[in-house]
Symmetry: C2
């Protein structure tokens, strides 16, 4: 495939995103999405979640495939390690959200990306979940994401890309700000 060497292509259709922005400004109800998963307990700490349909643009949306994710605890917690631990899924969500944002912002700013790698690490004192110390939180005590980015841009332009991605990231917002969770038993 011949490609114009001066044409930036990160594989993001920015035109479609700008069209969506315009359409959803005019039709705010269409911007209300509902994301879903269904989780089936298998055994012990092992479960299997299915991600498939969602609601958006005013209607139910289906996918060509169902995504299945096994989650479990690792062997050092006397579990069988059938999948990532639940907290690791949160890290996958955060790093993939920021990374998709970097690609979209780079496309919009006509910056060609060559390689983007995120290394994400979160500290957690398990005295919280084990109920040893009520003053220790159950979740992470902090998260650090380090980006390694090779792109046709200056160091400052790359830093600005990453900053803009954080500003528009859904998962960054979810992790850094509180969200109400209602849990019910049918």
């Amino acid at each position: 495939m011949l490609q114009n060497a001066t044409q930036v292509n990160n594989g993001v259709n920015v035109g479609a995103l700008l069209d969506a922005r315009q359409a959803l400004t005019a039709a705010p109800e269409a911007a209300r999405f509902k994301w879903r998963a269904t989780t089936q307990w298998i055994n012990g700490t092992h479960s299997r979640s299915t991600v498939s349909g969602f609601y958006g643009l005013g209607t139910e949306q289906s996918r060509k495939v169902e995504f299945k994710y096994d989650a479990d605890h690792p062997e050092i917690f006397a579990s069988e390690d059938h999948g990532a631990t639940p907290v690791e899924f949160v890290l996958v969500g955060l790093a993939s959200c920021l990374t998709a944002g970097i690609a979209a912002v780079a496309q919009h700013r006509k910056i060609q990306l060559r390689k983007v790698t995120a290394t994400i690490e979160a500290g957690m004192n398990v005295q919280g979940i084990l109920g040893i110390d009520a003053d220790v939180r159950n979740g992470f005590d902090g998260i650090k994401v380090i980006y390694d980015i090779d792109a046709d841009a200056t160091k400052e332009e790359i830093a600005a890309l990453v900053a803009q991605s954080q500003k528009r990231s859904a998962v960054f917002d979810i992790v850094t700000n509180p969200t109400d969770v209602a849990v019910e038993v049918r």
Copy 2:
């Protein structure tokens, strides 16, 4: 395999967890964990995350397998839907965390589980991430988890199981409370 009909077995080794609680009360440094993922940008909004080693019990921990997770945006956002969206990974993390907790608490309380299904749904106004309205948050406007549980227990005992699981859930804490995230470019 013959099994004593009166013996509760949800596949959770509660004895090992209680031993861990005792050991980590005496050795608080061993309770400091670090969970990690590495995320590689593929193209467009598509990335691949790898979850493998972590740090805990005072040392680096390895796994027999590496878990790989593709994330992407769906086709209605002009993407290619190579995996769940980042926000759906958060839902998988939350529902699998609560579900593992239900199994562990049930085992501790000698309640036999037969079937546990969680249906999780989160609302999100995409006017936030599209930058249409600065007053709309990027993340979820709320999450609802509905449990359907078949177990040898009363309705009240089942409700108490679910409540205790929330109280000790790492991901429930991460989603309902703020966590600091530092993003750096190398």
